[in-house]
């Protein structure tokens, strides 16, 4: 299995744990303040099992990440993040290694899974508002033949811009939606998490 996928998942897990309190705080403004805690419990379980995870194939690895998250995290985040990793794993199927061409299809399938389970789309003030444009930037940079670290950096910049752009939006999904107009003027926690994760992976790739 390629080391890259392991490196990216590891960076995501470490970053989520580092940002647990920050993510919960963001969710506390108009949500219920559990986002950081929930998702951290998932990646904590991933790290706890880290050495035992089947690494024979990248697809199996990603599916195992998914099931660890689904067994540890409830509700929106457990289901959506679990779905995302499951979908990415399914795209890889039994391939031996991930190549640059696999990246965008994996992300696209993950996005489709989130949209379907979450009954949500661009403009609902969710993590999709950062994730979808970031994947668009990823695709563009890949097509332009940029280097790995350039690709990641461009995606991270877009993720951050679009996370900031959730501020004026009205939440239409998740617990924040119950507060109606009040959600206007606040950042979506999931979208900010996307920005933080893209930035972390981009930074780690350079180091």
């Amino acid at each position: 299995m390629s080391k890259d996928v392991e490196f990216v998942v590891r960076t995501i897990a470490d970053t989520v744990l580092l940002n647990e309190a920050y993510f919960s705080e963001l969710d506390g403004v108009v949500g219920d303040g559990d986002f950081g805690y929930s998702i951290a419990r998932g990646f904590e379980k991933v790290l706890g099992e880290w050495d035992n995870i089947d690494r024979s194939l990248p697809g199996n690895f990603l599916k195992k990440i998914s099931s660890l998250i689904i067994s540890a995290v409830g509700g929106v985040s457990g289901t959506l993040w679990g779905t995302a990793f499951l979908r990415a794993g399914m795209v890889m199927g039994t391939k031996e290694a991930i190549t640059q061409e696999d990246i965008v299809p994996m992300f696209r399938s993950a996005i489709e899974g989130i949209k379907k389970r979450g009954n949500s789309d661009l403009g609902d003030k969710t993590l999709l508002d950062a994730l979808i444009p970031a994947v668009g930037a990823l695709e563009k940079a890949i097509n332009e033949g940029k280097t790995g670290s350039q690709i990641l950096e461009e995606a991270a910049v877009v993720a951050r811009e679009q996370a900031e752009a959730t501020r004026p939006m009205l939440a239409k999904r998740g617990r924040a939606a119950y507060t109606g107009e009040r959600s206007i003027g606040t950042l979506d926690a999931g979208a900010v998490a996307m920005a933080v994760l893209f930035e972390a992976v981009s930074q780690a790739w350079k180091d």
Binding site: S24, G28, V30, G31, D32, G33, D34, Y37, S38, R41, I70, S71, A72, V73, G74, G75, V76, S77, G78, T79, L80, G82, R117, G118, N119, L170, A171, K172, R173, G174, R175, A177, Y178, T179, G180, R182
Partner: protein, 331 residues
Amino acid sequence: MKRFVNDPKDFVPEMLKGIALANPKTLKYIPEYNLIMRTDIPMDNKVSIMQGSGSGHEPAHVMTVGKGMLDAACPGNVFAAPPADFVYNTTKLESSPMGVLHLLNNYTGDTMSFEMGREMAEAEGIEVRTVTINDDVAVKDSLYTIGRRGVAGNFFVMKAVGAASEQGKNLAELEAIGNHVVANVRTMGMSLTGCTPPAKGSPIFTLAEDEMEMGIGIHGEPGRKRVKLAPANAIVDELFEAVSSDLPYKAGDEVALMINGMGGTPISELYILYAHAHELCEKKGLKIKRNYVGEYCTSLEMAGFSLTLLKLDPELEALLAAPAEIAIRVF
């Protein structure tokens, strides 16, 4: 915020352990799935009933497991829906030939976990039906949300289907009874303070000494508006108006009236609120056949309450009056 806690991450499991230790004959605890279940189920001649939802709403739902109410509850962390995995495994453990009824409070997270868990169970041939509870009139049904939230009205659903399942009613009948309760129950809540999830350690929101929040949820979600603190009776007036003007209540109806404490409000104050709500019912011509004053569905240590009306018919009234044996007596 100070509370009785060891490691905050152990908050839920330690509470569940306490419940099991206190009820060794009737309840068992399966730590893997945060599961509290009756020791005597599944039974061949009885549908099993379960509820998930987040922790932090106690006595709902882990303390209402017992003969005549729930057969199992598998809560998530504080204010977090249970993982789909818990829903699936609990459904499997309590699966009866007569089927399993899922009671679901209408929130996105819970809905997602219960849908995924149900699909996994059905794939193994277990028959499952779901009653979705959405009694909160504070949230306007709109395109933007998944609709009204499920709050303290869930107690009446649990009680009615729990009693009916002991009478041997089948899965379709229980689903119909549950939906009948949902169609006839309405709630609205408010709070004087926020609340602090143990793992977060700081309040989800704070209210000034002269403020209160109307239309609050049960997860510390802020409500629809923040207004100046008012006398007890004026607060009851507002909630009663919102609840009773929503269908289906009209003069002459027989009702159950519930004043549900949110966790930090003493029972003395709940009875002060009840006194006024009782009088408003009488003024509107609603006949109170059953009343409930206490804590049923809480938000940790939040000071606040909700007011619930349930329109009764003789069948429903009999189900509410049926005996039940649960860890904490709330009826």
